[in-house]
Assembly symmetry: C2
Homo-oligomer: 138 residues x 2
Amino acid sequence: MFELDLRSRKPIYEQLVEKLKQLIINDVLKQDEKLPSVRTLAQQLSINPNTIQKAYRELETKGYIYSVKGKGSFVNHMLITDNSAELKKVKEQIKKQMSEALFLGVTIKELQVLITEANELVAGGETNDPSSEREKEI
Amino acid sequence: MFELDLRSRKPIYEQLVEKLKQLIINDVLKQDEKLPSVRTLAQQLSINPNTIQKAYRELETKGYIYSVKGKGSFVNHMLITDNSAELKKVKEQIKKQMSEALFLGVTIKELQVLITEANELVAGGETNDPSSEREKEI
DNA sequence: TAACTGTATCAATATATTTAGTACAGTTAT
DNA sequence: ATAACTGTACTAAATATATTGATACAGTTA
């Protein structure tokens, strides 16, 4: 399903969370799509099931998936969680990274291009939710 | 000088690197400004000098500071290091975070505002280097 | 019932981080 | 020259975190 860097400084379960989050955000994994079970994915990746479970639990806590005992774990695009705090953190982090990029020589135009590219990634997964007012173009 | 979260999941030396990088990027710490010595900073923060040294070493490797034996460690705004790889990584990371932000409901306009805000942070530290073509305004 | 699912818990192991202590070399000011 | 600073290096021990391995229990599906 995806590759992991077992020697990375970054914990395996965190890599898993990040990759799955990206797949969900970019609508590669669709709403209610079933994720591989903790045991089969563990076997595929040659790691311990507990590590998968840890990643799934974190994803569920953050609202990206939901799990049902006996059935499996499924994608959840509708984040009805209390975003405000998380949202502020994400924006703050983006600002930091942007200032670093500018410092390193990236131009403002390049950053603007990144916005359109990011938007194209998520645009495909537009929901039917009328409360979603995300612009489709700049 | 700054606060650390000793209980954070993130290692102390990494927190130090991040904070100092931000201070340098945002021109709070000026070119050639002397940083506190590893021992005094360790005492101020009530942590081991080795931890400070590890942070300083990483900052020097990445070009943000330079250290002189017997004298001290100093801010280095002129990054003449081979950026290209690091630059690509930063841009990739920003794109990921942007798509996540969009997914969480942040609008494109808000992201554009973040660019201007980030630019204002670094704008104060504009160099005399004529090769720097960073826009001052959008 | 059998074979799946998620979930929980515990101990053992591996790895990473931090501390502690010591030492050496260069700088600065007295 | 000496004392008091600087950075740097190294080793050992302690601590924290991540991962594995094993086992168990509960719900689902056929």
